[in-house]
């Protein structure tokens, strides 16, 4: 791993600024089926969204391709907190990378309870998902209301000493205002953005393609939206020195660099893995080369260096 990729984020020392995004890489082992893929090449792996009780998730179809992207509506299928802690976490290869648990609740109290359970584990950080667009209760309903966001982060803060990252929804009027409230409540970092809500229609059946009717749009088509949101959130978060995971449509080193310049301290990769499972190494190489070419010692020197016209 190139030395200049070492990145500090929410008190964690990362091998690379790349964080693999929740929902794209299962519980961290799935992509290691592929030859040449290694978790050691990324800074952290954000595990599948976990709820207190097991969830079956939504009915098929759960995904649909769209122009330069895809819709998904998985519905937080997961085995529940107890099984994740007792059966999955012990097999995580902790020497390979950092692991972040992504948590979701259907009430403020449930978020707090899950955070408390993971506080007693060796997980490296907790990402609070207040922006899942694909569940009936909770999810984005919390994330689009700054005061509800505050309450969710606040209860998690009380219940864990782990670094907290709050994953923000792009499906709201003022993401920066929400970010400010999450910081007030004690969030150590922010993930910007979750998917953008959308729909696809089958003209033969005249039904939505997605079983849950609607889904979350990801992939290159949302990159311009995500970049602007990162820029907007950064205007708030920089005052408090709160770092951002910039995410949404990153498929190359150039994409990643755009996010870092806009204000992201680390960058999230998800949908791009579906196109090219070995993309992370290419992104690492490209970022490292750019830093060398620009005579920058590390990613940190580039964060938020955007110069507006």
């Amino acid at each position: 791993m190139q030395n200049n990729l070492q990145t500090s984020f929410c008190g964690m020392s990362l091998n690379s600024p790349i964080i693999l995004l929740s929902g794209c890489v299962g519980f961290g082992e799935e992509y290691t089926r592929i030859k040449g893929f290694s978790n050691t090449k990324v800074g952290a792996v954000c595990l599948k969204g976990t709820t207190l009780e097991p969830r079956l998730g939504n009915k098929p179809h759960r995904i649909a391709e769209t122009a330069n992207g895809m819709l998904n509506s998985i519905g937080l299928q997961n085995p529940g907190t107890e099984i994740v802690i007792d059966e999955i976490m012990p097999s995580l290869k902790k020497n390979e990378t950092k692991f972040i648990i992504n948590i979701s609740g259907s009430s403020v109290e449930e978020y707090g309870e899950i955070a408390k359970h993971f506080d007693d584990t060796d997980i490296d950080a907790v990402e609070i998902n207040i922006s899942c667009p694909n569940v009936k209760e909770g999810g984005v309903a919390f994330g689009n209301d700054p005061e509800m966001s505050f309450r969710v982060v606040e209860i998690c803060r009380k219940n864990t000493t782990k670094p907290i990252i709050t994953k923000l929804s792009p499906n709201q009027t003022d993401i920066a205002k929400n970010a400010a409230r999450c910081i007030d409540a004690g969030s150590d970092g922010l993930a910007v953005i979750n998917t953008v809500t959308g729909m696809a229609v089958d003209i033969e059946t005249r039904k939505p393609v997605i079983g849950n009717n609607r889904g979350g749009l990801s992939g290159p088509s949302i990159k311009p939206i995500a970049l602007l949101k990162v820029h907007q959130v950064y205007q708030v978060s920089k005052k408090y020195n709160i770092p951002i995971i910039g995410q949404g449509g990153i498929t190359s080193a150039n994409d990643a660099l755009e996010f870092i310049i806009a204000g992201a301290a680390t960058i999230g990769v998800g949908t791009a893995l579906f196109y090219d499972p070995l993309v992370c190494e290419k992104i690492n190489t490209g970022i490292s080369q750019y830093l060398s070419d620009q005579s920058l010692s590390g990613v940190g020197s580039l964060v938020g260096t955007l110069q507006l016209n």
Partner: protein, 287 residues
């Protein structure tokens, strides 16, 4: 999932060695890869980049392998924009192919395998036939169905089988000395007019009790066909494996996008077609 699953799938740049179009917008694509040719078992699939424009890969079952020349064949039909773009690729082009993926068919020791494939679900059925063609322990009967012209020229068969309705066969199966019946509602020449399950029932009804006890059913095809095959297997009390398809994103189990609901001892569960399947016990899917 244990670490023993690590590094079982490779990312390959495969050259297009042949690409033939058949009626009904069906194509047979031959790609180079010694690794996929050697490692693939029947029922496994590859996840393939279809063009520079469309980034999402498409999961397509492997139909047959040529270990000697390091090549494998895929059969697909244009069903949307992705496969339309795949149809544009030419001999010499390079395609990124991830594979082989999935739990394939578990070919059991039942001596009378009944292999039923429909439409673009024919490939894994042909792959099983290829695997067992030289094994004298088996006495397979293949039934292929299609509502568009078959992606091969049906020819009369010299191979004896007990099925009362005699039909033409697929040339490669004839070469492999594997008995076959073709079925369609379309009235194609030399093809049984009816459903694959009608032909399967005719065949099963010729077997003795002892013969029936040695039948294992393996099937891949459209969902309604699989449902009918599962029912037939249930009626005759036969073990039955089916290979399913679903829209797929990662193909390695990471995204849970391609699930199907199956019944387990612990109640209903959502299983990933990519790595928990694509082959499932028929009665766990259709009950």
């Amino acid at each position: 999932m244990t670490s023993s699953n690590r590094e079982t799938i490779s990312v390959n740049d495969c050259q297009v060695l042949a690409h033939y179009k058949y009626d009904g917008e069906q194509y047979i694509l031959t790609l180079s890869s010694s690794e996929i040719a050697q490692k693939t078992i029947p029922g496994q699939f590859v996840h393939i980049t279809v063009s520079d424009v469309t980034a999402m890969r498409r999961p397509i079952s492997v139909m047959s392998v040529d270990e000697e020349n390091g090549a494998f064949d895929l059969l697909y039909k244009i069903v949307g924009e992705g496969t339309r773009q795949l149809a544009e690729c030419k001999v010499g082009d390079m395609l990124s192919v991830i594979g082989p993926i999935g739990n394939g068919f578990r070919v059991t020791d039942k001596k009378n395998p009944l292999l039923i494939g429909g439409g673009v679900g024919m490939p894994p059925i042909i792959a099983i036939a290829q695997q067992i063609k030289n094994n004298n322990d088996y006495n397979p009967f293949v039934i292929l169905g299609s509502e568009v012209p078959f992606p091969f020229t049906p020819q009369p068969s010299e191979i004896s089988n007990t099925c009362p309705s005699k039909t033409h066969t697929m040339p490669i199966l004839e070469e492999w000395n594997v008995a076959c019946g073709l079925a369609s509602l379309q009235g194609f020449k030399g093809v049984y007019k009816g459903y694959v399950t009608d032909l399967a029932k005719e065949y099963l009804d010729t077997l003795s009790k002892e013969g029936l006890s040695q039948v294992g059913v393996y099937s891949c095809g459209p969902h309604p066909m699989l449902e009918a095959v599962a029912k037939l297997a249930r009626d005759y009390n036969l073990p039955c494996q089916v290979s399913l398809e679903e829209y797929m994103a990662c193909a390695v189990g990471g995204c849970a996008g391609c699930v199907v609901e199956v019944q387990t001892d612990d109640g209903p569960a959502m299983k990933r077609v990519c790595v928990d399947g694509p082959v499932f016990d028929a009665q766990s899917v259709f009950s």
